[in-house]
């Protein structure tokens, strides 16, 4: 079934990176292991957004909400219920997908910017509830010291757990994009009217893409809890959503792996500039502006020249 979908030759560098990532934790200082794990979590989050953004041209402006819902669901289950721990891990993504279904159901009636704005208002509702409901969600303090199963309680084990889940999710996302569903989604992105004319139910496909993407965002949220053992309302705040959006644009949203690169750049810049100066956002802003001026197609787009014509073509069509 994978033949024709996955090119074996291009698999080698990916396998090499995977092996390097597998042997790194015992060698690296703890801090770097943590940063790598954080990059993995953020990558999955950005990838999940790009399924709808880059491949579906759906302006999911408040993606952070689903990440936060996944994280909060898992955290509440782990910290406040006596259910087996795996229930929390499963409930996180499912809850995110349910919220994605509800919000998506309202939003797919609108297009583009209006879609995004309705989503921001619905998402802000959820944020406001989480932010103020002190007795249940801990309000603006969040929840800290969430218990973890012993198997993944050490940092290195958490790292491996996150890495393996990330790889599984990336393969799943890749297969979804290469499936007939993925092709239909990209066809809708390129020309919604024509798709409607040939009998594709545009809204249902978009809604399904949103549910899938929010499910993966929920997984990212659970992984965040595994890594940090705490949750706080900033996970659902729109600033984070905007950052994820920026990661996709920065890495190159017309490429499959671009968002990973965007996430890695953002997390790494923030962490390493943060070590040297308190004013890291200033430097991040300057670097972003330099990138906009000198790498207009996104970082990944710059390296993959082959994608350039396609990206431009789509951009032109959008600009109509």
């Amino acid at each position: 079934m994978f033949r024709g979908i996955i090119d074996l030759k291009s698999l080698w560098p990916i396998a090499a990176i995977f092996i390097v990532l597998l042997i790194l934790p015992p060698i690296l200082p703890r801090f770097y292991t943590y940063i790598l794990a954080l990059i993995f979590v953020t990558s999955l989050l950005a990838m999940s957004l790009n399924l709808v953004l880059g491949h579906g041209m759906i302006f999911q402006f408040h993606h952070g909400v689903f990440y936060g819902v996944g994280a909060y669901t898992a955290a509440l289950m782990l910290a406040k219920s006596s259910l087996p721990m795996w229930v929390g891990f499963v409930a996180g993504p499912l809850m995110a997908a349910v919220v994605g279904l509800i919000i998506g159901w309202f939003c797919v009636r609108l297009t583009r910017l209006y879609f995004g704005m309705l989503q921001i208002s619905l998402g802000s509702l959820i944020w406001a509830i989480v932010f103020r409901w002190y007795s249940f969600t801990g309000g603006d303090d969040g929840i800290h010291g969430i218990p973890m199963p012993p198997l993944i309680s050490s940092l290195n084990n958490a790292y491996y757990f996150i890495l393996i889940i990330l790889v599984i999710c990336l393969v799943a996302l890749y297969l979804i994009l290469k499936s007939p569903f993925g092709s239909t989604l990209e066809a809708i992105r390129d020309n919604p009217q024509r798709c409607e004319a040939v009998g594709v139910n545009v809204r249902r496909h978009q809604l399904m893409a949103i549910v899938i993407s929010t499910f993966f965002a929920g997984i990212a949220g659970v992984l965040f809890v595994v890594l940090e053992r705490s949750v706080f309302p900033d996970l659902l705040f729109w600033v984070l959503s905007l950052e994820i959006f920026i990661m996709c644009l920065l890495g190159g949203w017309f490429t499959f792996a671009g968002p990973i690169l965007g996430a890695a750049i953002m997390v790494a810049l923030r962490t390493f500039i943060g070590i040297f100066t308190e004013y890291w956002t200033l430097i991040l802003g300057v670097i972003l502006i330099l990138l906009i001026f000198f790498l207009p197609e996104g970082v990944m787009g710059y390296f993959l020249e082959g994608f350039k014509p396609h990206a431009k073509e789509v951009a032109e069509r959008r600009g109509e």
Partner: protein, 295 residues
């Protein structure tokens, strides 16, 4: 849940005066959105710069005197306008040909930079600005005591609306920018330098953000992070009002401000939920906003 006329009246005034601030900020955002077609994420940061500049001028330079406040109210928006003019001419104007999402990315970068510049210049402490002697204290109306400053805001808001209406309908540059909002190619064909029209529109929009910031300074504690709260509210207001429509910004601001203040009366803990719920309802009933959008 019992509340008398007094509580109702005082909350209404608080909501309306908040709506006036929101309107001034949103009118600027909407103007930029209409003419340049750019969702300026840095608009909230300019509002914050306006508030901090007002603090710097009124409290630092003039030690909190009344004259200092009035001077700050006049000068702070110009500081913001100057900052935006520099950003526009140095960087932004080279990007207009790019994709819109890249422009969004650019304004996000500006937001990051402005946020830290404010932190470098004014520090991370909470600041407060005292209103001038004339506007201190409160008057009693309907059995409620209403701060004079809020009444002042209720006067300023409509004045700004009238001024903006006169500007966009009666002046040449206003008319050109409205034309550019509808059909920018046509405007450039008849020999108008669209780049400068954009610069003017951007600076005017940012001036309004600065004015909103300077006006809000005496009513809140001026602090980092006020940019994040305002910008999301502003975007939602502009959307429910109709993108690029100034009167839509006014209607949206009134809805947002008043639902919030009544939320405080009804269920204080979840007061911030009410305006968002109002936005959801409006967008659900009228997806393209209440008034006509220029997009």
């Amino acid at each position: 849940m019992e509340f008398g006329l007094a509580a109702l009246a005082s909350q209404l005034v608080v909501g309306l005066s908040r709506a006036m601030i929101l309107f001034i900020v949103c009118a600027g955002l909407s103007f930029v959105l209409g003419v340049l077609r750019v969702p300026n994420v840095a608009h909230g940061s300019l509002y914050m710069i306006g508030a901090f500049s007002a603090y710097g001028i009124a409290m630092r330079l003039f030690g909190g005197s009344s004259a200092g406040f009035w001077l700050a109210l006049i000068l702070a928006p110009f500081v913001v306008a100057l900052v935006s003019l520099i950003a526009e001419r140095a960087l932004f104007c080279h990007l207009y040909e790019r994709e819109h999402l890249m422009l969004l990315l650019f304004t996000f970068a500006l937001m990051l930079i402005f946020g830290d510049l404010v932190k470098i210049i004014w520090g991370a402490e909470y600041r407060s600005v005292s209103p001038p002697a004339l506007l201190r204290g409160s008057v009693s109306m309907f059995g409620a005591s209403i701060p004079r400053y809020n009444l002042f805001l209720l006067i300023i808001g409509p004045l700004v609306a009238i001024g903006l209406w006169l500007f966009t309908n009666k002046t040449k540059i206003g008319k050109i920018s409205r034309a550019a909002a509808v059909d920018r190619e046509m405007v450039s064909v008849i020999g108008i330098n669209v780049s400068w029209v954009f610069a003017a529109a951007f600076v005017i929009g940012c001036y309004l953000a600065g004015l909103g910031g300077a006006l809000v300074a005496p009513t809140v504690s001026v602090t980092l992070g006020m940019d994040h709260t305002i910008i999301i509210e502003a975007f939602l207001i502009v959307t429910i009002g109709g993108l690029g429509n100034m009167w839509g910004a006014l209607v949206g601001s009134l809805i947002f401000g008043v639902t919030h203040s009544f939320g405080v009366l009804l269920w204080p803990q979840f007061a911030i939920v009410f305006p968002y719920a109002a936005v959801v309802i409006v967008l659900f009933l009228r997806p393209r906003g209440l008034l006509k959008s220029v997009w």
